[in-house]
């Protein structure tokens, strides 16, 4: 695999690689399932209205459609933007990650600070052949989500090789 060279004269304005496109489908599915929890709010409002009658009927009437709208947003809008914003690079010096729907955040983890790397796969990711890869330092943990399974395993090997090489140098 190619490792882009970072030279001191020209720093990349953003990382170059994207995560797997199946991420959008996987995130849509998980938003469909787990996002449904927001219906608890209008549900609860309705329950209180029904049992207690102490609050106005307006609460459940307003909360219901709002919950539906939010759920639609979570399913149809956010996964796509999130995928579009997620970019990363792995070089022999560090891991470069950029993400964020509203606030763009970019993080560089120096390679010699990484203590361990592992890949993870939940049931939804497995359905779409995806895997996430997470790296821990002494202070923090970072994750690149939704990579192609083989790619994630390959990347994990590459990163742990790089870490080993750097640690030997020191």
């Amino acid at each position: 695999m190619d490792l882009p060279e970072i030279t001191e004269n020209k720093l990349p304005t953003e990382p170059s690689k994207r995560i797997d496109e199946n991420a959008i489908k996987a995130w849509k599915l998980s938003a469909l399932l787990f996002g449904a929890i927001i219906y608890a709010i209008p549900g609860l409002a309705y329950l209180i209205y029904k049992l207690d009658g102490d609050i106005s009927m307006l609460y459940p009437i307003i909360a219901g459609p709002v919950a539906v709208m939010l759920h639609c947003l979570m399913i149809f809008v956010f996964p796509k933007i999130r995928w579009k914003r997620w970019k990363y690079d792995v070089t022999d010096k560090g891991i470069d990650m950029q993400r964020g729907i509203i606030i763009t955040k970019r993080t560089i983890v120096p390679i010699n600070r990484i203590q361990h790397v592992d890949t993870r796969q939940g049931p939804i990711y497995r359905k779409y052949g995806l895997s996430s890869i997470s790296m821990s330092t002494a202070a923090t943990t970072h994750e690149i989500p939704a990579l192609n399974e083989e790619r994630a395993v390959e990347l994990r090997e590459i990163i742990s090789d790089l870490v080993r090489k750097v640690k030997e140098d020191v």
């Binding site: 955040k105 203590q115 923090t140």
Partner: protein, 481 residues
């Protein structure tokens, strides 16, 4: 020390004292305010708590045994769950000896043995005699150094240099005058919170309409507002005095000793605490200039060291409780072997000024309408716009980053001004972030995280130029020329 031995029996009581001391303020208020109406039950609960803590203390003292054998410190302990804690000598990083108030009365000390590495563990022996402690330390230390020498043949050169290096042991002592001013300017109002928290729970019984009418009847012509203001002033006074005493007790007789590989910090009047800072665990320095101290050019210096403490508060170690800003670099050079570096200074660009001045005012934007619901005069708070804007301007003026080859200096103001010096090869992670408003002005927020204790400490400077931020983001992995 190859046979198992127990601690001094007083260790059985220390637990009880720790519990009492941790809850001293609520306890006193509870006793003074609460005992009147609650009657005998109250005392029975207190007594029951004390007795069960004492019994627990005795049993855990009985179960706690330790010895040093085969390059290992072995501790057996545990009341319900028996635990065997074995620490091998070469993993032991720091051995701290503390004299607590109770231990002091019996000529005893507490020993904390801390290891570093993946699984961070800490062993505490809470009461043994001073001689035992020193014997323990030499036993654990000697072998460690012996092993190091064996493993590392190149250290012969170091050996020759060592006597020269350590011949005049360097000391730094906090003078009584500095201690006094440190206490005067500490303004540690965290104490208020604990007092208020304890009081508010008990206050309901007092603030009844009858009581209030009675008070106002006694003080004709005094409005409710005056009473509130006086109470606030009173609480502020009390907490100021408490924080004054706290600083005197904590940093009294403060001294630093420089050894070959570590710094030894000793401080405290009632409880003498000793902290060891190995040079190779140092991640960053943090100089905090409190609001009351900055006008005089003074502040407090902390060191972030990797490894031991899980609790957020204990992670940073106080290196100098009170020091003048312009003496910092000579101290770091002399005691921490940190050479001053010249570097490139980066400040927020002009176009960031308005963002800085605007930001503190967002708080008012939310607070005023909400307060207005309860208080008709809340609109008066909008006058705060002026000091808040000035404060934003100060934040802008203080924000600065200086990058050099091996260190980065980050200065920013929250309320106090913080200046952090982070070592390049200790940076765990660097971040930049951009919200939509920043994007429009091509500005970025830069954060750098160093390890501290068992977690991390993040330093952040807002609204730097986008391209400069990208350069800073890469600084930990790419040296700047």
């Amino acid at each position: 020390m190859s046979e198992f031995r127990r601690q001094h029996p007083i260790a059985a009581v220390t637990q009880l004292f720790v519990v009492i001391r941790q809850n001293i303020v609520p306890f006193i208020i509870f006793v003074v305010l609460g005992s009147r109406n609650s009657g005998d039950y109250f005392w029975m609960i207190i007594l029951f708590g004390a007795i069960s803590t004492f019994i627990l203390g005795v049993v855990s003292w009985y179960r706690f045994k330790f010895r040093v054998i085969d390059d290992e410190l072995q501790i057996n302990k545990g009341v319900l769950v028996r635990k065997k804690l074995y620490l091998s000598k070469d993993r032991i990083q720091v051995i701290d000896i503390t004299e607590g108030l109770l231990q002091r009365m019996f000529g005893l000390v507490k020993v904390e043995i801390k290891t570093a590495g993946g699984g961070t563990e800490k062993a505490t022996i809470s009461a043994i005699t001073r001689n035992e402690a020193i014997e323990l330390r030499t036993l654990l230390r000697e072998n460690r150094q012996g092993a190091e020498l064996k493993a590392d043949e190149t250290s012969e050169i170091e050996l020759q240099e060592k006597p020269e290096l350590s011949s005049p042991p360097k000391m730094w002592v906090l003078s009584n005058r500095d201690l006094f001013f440190a206490a005067l300017t500490s303004g540690n109002f965290g104490v208020i919170a604990s007092i208020l928290g304890a009081v508010s729970g008990q206050l309901d019984q007092f603030i009844t309409e009858e009581n209030m009418d009675y008070v106002f009847g006694l003080l004709p012509g005094i409005s409710q507002l005056t009473v509130v203001l006086w109470s606030i002033a009173f609480i502020l006074m009390i907490s100021y005095i408490l924080s004054f005493i706290g600083v005197i007790l904590r940093y009294g007789d403060f001294k630093i000793e420089k050894k070959d590989k570590e710094l030894l910090i000793t401080s405290g009047l009632l409880e003498r605490k000793q902290i060891t800072v190995p040079f190779d665990r140092v991640q960053a320095f943090r100089f905090v200039e409190g609001v009351l101290r900055q006008p005089f050019g003074y502040g407090m210096l902390y060191v972030e060291s990797a490894g031991f403490e899980q609790k957020e508060n204990d992670r940073s170690i106080v290196l100098l409780p009170f020091v003048k800003r312009d003496r910092l670099s000579s101290f770091l050079e002399e005691f921490m072997n940190e050479m001053p570096e010249s570097g490139e200074t980066i400040v927020p660009p002009k176009r960031a000024l308005f963002r800085y001045m605007r930001q503190p005012n967002y708080l008012l934007l939310i607070a005023i309408p909400v307060l207005w619901l309860f208080w008709d005069w809340a609109w008066m708070l909008s006058l705060l716009v002026i000091p808040f804007t000035l404060f934003g301007w100060l934040e802008y003026k203080d924000a600065r980053i200086k990058v050099a080859q091996h260190t980065i200096l980050m200065q920013y103001r929250n309320l106090a001004r913080t200046t952090a010096i982070i070592k390049r090869n200790r940076v765990q992670v660097s971040d930049i972030s951009m919200n939509p408003f920043q994007k429009r002005k091509k500005l970025s927020t830069v954060s750098i995280t160093a390890a501290s204790g068992a977690g991390g400490k993040t330093f952040t400077v807002n609204d730097l130029d986008e391209m400069e931020a990208i350069t800073l983001l890469h600084w930990p992995i790419n040296a700047l020329q």
